[in-house]
Symmetry: D3
Subunit: 341 residues, 6 copies
């Protein structure tokens, strides 16, 4: 079943009938019967929807993560669109294309992975290390998980490609740090950056509900990543044990401090750099997402309170840029995220 | 009086007579009289020295920071050089050239400052901001303090030019972050990087003893920096108040967290970047200094415990670099510190 | 338009028509239409109000901080007064007298400021310091902000005069500490007490919504206070630099610990005293406000949980006071707040 | 045996023979035999002393806390007085008057206790409470312990009367807080101030070595104080149980936070005041002691690092006081400690 | 009035009339009048109940902790039972048997207390200590409070017998630690385990509402326990003071760290063991309760987030036990709680 | 070369010649030449030794961890034995039996390991798990490392067998917790207890110097243990993946909190128990060692300050034990450590 109607295009007065992902579903009670408050989602966005009584009484269990074909009228309430549902049928058996329903990174995941592989070619000259990194990235079990990896967040914030986007951002920060501090070992640092969050692809289930796996909660993504790499280390017979030791240390210490869940703290210069690059890319990702949701695109403005940053973020008035006027109009400028080389 | 004999060149058996800075001076007691344990310093390094009784009894007050003409014999004790002092005369009145006695940054301070000014020309296009930054850097009172600024450490670790070296390192890290995250306002971030530690030039006395000033201890370098900039802000009438506000915020928040002495925490994307760049350059400086004092230049090796990092640092075995063999021989490779240009 | 009807005087059965400040305004949804739950405020207190459907549908945006002329019937619901709104018109353009709508300190702000100035006359004998303090307090821009300053809280807790009341409380505590510890420098300590929270008058917008200003959030009230004082320091040419340094230190360190946002910790005896006096007056203010909202005026009783104290507060049974019976009837006894000299 | 020679009066060249307390005693080793480094103490101060070989070999165990009759010559070493011991005999059996050997509060302990009792008469009007407080203070077991109580420190910092001095300081601070915040219950607060550290008189052994008792370490002074008061509470049949409850709470919570060892945190306004008054008097005591050991009596100057304050303390330049010139010459001005009435 | 109908036995369609405890009672507002949402409780469980308008308007004050005779129809809503109330009369004067309305420990409290007394007989051989412990446990005021003590929780989690169950669990853990570490003094440790939470029986009011007493909040259960024991210590003239001191220390230090409210930290081996046994039994109690509320009885499964553990708890797949098949079917296996010897 | 003379048997006046381990070696300086202060060690204890000038000048590098044949005279200094060295020859090439020179657990390591294996037989009935555990314990590389493992300490505190002693202590505590809380999965918990510190046998080098390995510092013993177990997990094809997951979780979480280096916190009941048992056995080990070094064997007494416990430990007066008099004489009573069977 092909999807034709996307949330982004809805207008008051539209009549709709198409498949959506239920992002939220809550039954509430009025005196004269229950009603359902839903949030419908597809890859283009989200919209509120209501099932009023008596239709509401036909539905016992509507739950986030379900797919449903929804028919209804688009109206508006308090300046926001709201769909009045007139018919709703859950999709059983049928498995819609997830890509139509989940948000995605702006750059397609395969391009992000390609960019990572280009970095390997550019920076890693030691053949055993290069072979090791490429073998992992090309592995049939690992590659698809990387391409679909969603970063460390719940469904309404995550997006397919998020894990690769973060990995690429950290890798690029590390490489430009090596340009500035030439004593750093850029080869092992790049390998560390590429694999530091590898375990996240197994820590979460992926898919619409994107919860944590049992293994994710019981072992954590650091241990999971090392377990995935284990057999590859065993096979990389010409990769020096000292380099394997350093690479493992980079992965184990990238959270920086015990209280952030690092079993060991950074002990080498490269481990410090990886930790700080991880911090910088994560925080800029959160800020970028928060700023994207502001109505105004130029400061001064404040985002809502960001729980993970424990503060609201300020979007300042930008310094006028005489030379680079066109730059501020280019689409890649809309994003804090790393540009492709 | 010209200095001819440098610590770096001493050999057992040498007879010396030249001026040195007393880096340490302690009187100890043996039964048959006191003796002095000194550390003599010049810009090339440090060496132990002893004044045995009865000569020792001629000296009542030898204190770190004094200059003295020292005559004696170079011997060795426990595999380290040790000077047996035969004559010592404190320099009164005469004021030796500090540059002969204090360690210095590898790159001369004026070249570091020039590199900073080049960054301004390259990245700041907004004329009022450019004029403001350049006016501060060229100020007659500020410029010499910047050129002699020593970083945040006690005499035996600090070096002339350290403040500029750190400032340049942070500025370059910020600029390469802007290459990767184009939404960042690189102009104001560069200004913030350049002035974030400006107050340090007033926080410490400079000179051989390099203690904290009263104002340094009572106000801190953040407030001192803002006070220095105050009159320049007042005069920069065409510099937009919103930019001044953001620039002040960058300086006030660069310690990142209240517990590190930041009166406000970073609220803008640029403020996060400045804080993390400051962290990265500081930590890599400490590691670089610790590694320089190891006898072996290649890993695996551990530095002594680094109090400010709260750990010993590991110098790992480097990944062999087939392509860039010559790079590893070049002198700038000996240092984690930022390369010029 | 003169205000005649005050919240404090409402009774069930009254018909009202007068201007009120909307302290809260929330639209809720019932099946058969939306309704508005309001809280109406004037300087005498607050009362709930409801706009039922269909009248409710006439109002798209009612927001806290708006002024409205409200007509309706006073009823009661669950033992609390509730106004059933029959007509509501927002005030545009017209600017009502804020003093009619915001809660106020018991003692009028100008008397509080006068009391502060009396303390200056009584305790500061050093002419340059006395001149400096008086000049700031009499400044045309500063004085009205001080008189309207509201303390560090959101609209429904703050009151006009709160900043001065706190300042006076801290100043008096400091002066009585000097009576007990005569080594303390009471003159500089009084100046520090008077100016320690000066920046708060710029940190918040004041007025009915009383939010934080951008500068308040980006610089904080400590830095704002120092910026306000800057030009006065510059002009006070006969005020000794050492005294200015100490006074700045008192302001910078009054939060006591880095984790409470102090850029420097107290280093002088006076700085310790100022910090502890600030703590005592703030906490007693919170307790006093919490106790005032209890129905019973004598213990034992517990206030609701106080978020800023992280506990509920106990109102104990008072010790019977044979001698001072009349005292307990006097009006100033109803308040923890400092009595006028 | 009457003591005639006091440390305060020693001059180089003196020959002495009198009893001293050994405040420190360490045996050190030189090649040709051991020597003892002693510190001799009496109520007027301390002086270094050496027992050189071969005399040193006669002494197997010299320990801090012992009393000894010492004969010798007063000399000087490194600008400090030093006694060369020529004869030393430990006092066995004989029990010298402790008052000759331990430092004491400036105001005699009995005057301090009298001042406390005056406060009771002045402020406590409720007869059952007044009777209770007076009965405890006059108890035959308690009174002498209070008079000799030394505060919470090791031998070389403590002084007889220190506990009472602190108690009086806290009590006065509490009473002047009540003048400013008339809602406070001054009667119970005074009782709480008087007894908050009562257990300290049992927590330490007193005497020259002044260590912690087993009970002091296993129960702490808060519990010890409550145990001492227990029987008095039981006998005070007309003292209202609610007042007893509040008084116990004041004692139990006076450390303010769990991490400072408070089993419960302050819950009443009076408990907050007692905690903050305790903080203020303790910190000002430490600062006062540190400043007293500076050579210069006027600022600017820095004390050595104060371990309990975790900082060095600044003695600022005082504000000139035109009116009160004589005050600065009066002896009570030499002290931060509370003046009598 | 005898209770016949228990919550556990209700089915949709039942008509009921019996007494229940109101565990929750909230009035909510619909447009056409208020309604009450209740939770009815007896010793067998809880059930939701609604009083719709206009019946709802007859009730002004329904509050948790009240007893009411309730008549109505049992229906179901959203898969849960719900009683539609048709009549409700509050019980005044009459005092129903609490045991019918509060949840209880699986093992009756008197058996738990007996088990404790058996431990005393088994392990304590020192007559004065044995006599002391038994005298406290048999005291007419203490015994009934112990039997009804509910542990440290609000009404809907606590159960009669909870305090004894915890006490017995800790005591058994301590005794088996003594089997493994024979140097431990098992007699005093058992006494400490038995009395460590004694004060909890006075810290809470017990009964249906089970709040904290004033004394509980102002003194805490550690101090309350010591006060209860005080007269027994005074009478136990042949019990050695050193043992009393150790026993008091065990009670005072059992929270382990100052930040958990311990006025002193554990100083003896026995005190460490008591603290850790207290931790283990408390945490296993919470986990046991959380697992009991899962629908599935075997893992893998996750409990909801446990606030006091700050995590969700995992119920793992159990290791198959070939030998002990029958054990896993026995009823005592359903519980983490200690088995009776 | 067989060792005949043991430290434990030395008496003043003895002439010795035998091999010792240098536990400490420091060169100090007297005016007339250097001397060496050594500590000689064998499995029976330690003794001070001095090499005076001019013999001292023959030795350039004496370092802890070296073996030397030492000749000399036993004397005494300050009530302690001290050897005056008359001849000293370092052992090169020859490799003495470590067991003669390192302190050992009271119970021989092979008996401790046997006791562990007995626990496996007793408690683990699930064949795949039993096979897995036994295979690891019998592995040719693992077994000898376990038998020589020294616990987590520097040379002068560690002893051969310490790792097994701790492992056995934790395992026994876990098993007796399972007796009390029958819902616990005793089989997997025992496996977790046995392997929780397995990595420690690779974290330290063992041998006389017993430092940390590079892998120990860069990966930590948790990760090292999991790496050792990895191939055994891979081979245990009939061991259920859910059990492997739980076992890994037990190992990963046994430090309990992130700040103690746990990459994940305990999530299952068994994980909580393992963590607390690890805490209890470690702390009782430290206390036991501290008490062993007291001169008096019965309380009351205080040990010196224990850095890892951050306190001195109290040895209380024991409760008299009428029934078990003989027990207190038995040798196993001298130790807090677990008794066999």
């Amino acid at each position: 079943m092909e999807k034709n109607i996307y949330v982004r295009d809805l207008c008051p007065g539209d009549t709709i009938r198409d498949v959506f992902l239920l992002a939220e579903a809550q039954r509430a009670q009025a005196r004269n019967g229950p009603y359902w408050r839903l949030v419908l989602q597809d890859s283009s966005g989200r919209v509120d929807a209501m099932i009023w009584s008596p239709l509401s009484e036909h539905y016992d269990r509507l739950e986030p993560g379900m797919f449903a074909e929804v028919g209804g009228q688009v109206g508006s309430f308090k300046d926001k669109l709201q769909v009045k549902v007139e018919a709703l049928a859950l999709l059983n058996g049928e498995s819609p294309d997830l890509g139509d329903f989940l948000p995605r990174s702006q750059t397609p995941p395969d391009e992000l992975l390609e960019a990572l592989e280009d970095l390997v070619l550019e920076h890693i000259t030691h053949k055993p290390l290069k072979a090791f990194v490429r073998r992992v990235l090309k592995d049939d079990e690992i590659r698809p998980r990387l391409l679909n990896g969603m970063g460390a967040k719940v469904v309404h914030h995550a997006y397919v490609g998020g894990l690769l986007e973060h990995t690429l951002g950290v890798a690029r920060l590390c490489m430009s740090s090596c340009d500035l501090y030439p004593r750093l070992d850029r080869q092992i640092l790049l390998a560390g950056a590429i694999f530091h969050d590898l375990g996240k692809a197994w820590e979460m289930t992926g898919g619409p509900e994107n919860g944590y796996t049992d293994a994710g909660q019981l072992l954590g993504h650091i241990e999971l990543g090392l377990e995935i790499l284990g057999p590859f280390f065993a096979k990389a017979r010409d990769l020096e044990p000292e380099l394997i030791l350093h690479l493992k240390h980079l992965i184990l210490s990238h959270h920086g401090e015990h209280e952030y869940g690092a079993p060991v703290r950074p002990k080498s210069a490269e481990a410090f750099v990886l930790h700080l690059a991880d911090m910088m890319d994560s925080k800029l990702n959160i800020i970028s997402g928060a700023v994207d949701q502001l109505e105004q695109t130029e400061g001064p403005a404040w985002t809502p309170y960001q729980r993970f940053l424990e503060r609201a973020v300020f979007l300042p008035v930008p310094t006028p840029d005489t030379n680079n006027q066109r730059k501020s109009d280019s689409p890649e400028n809309q994003c804090f995220l790393p540009l492709k080389g």
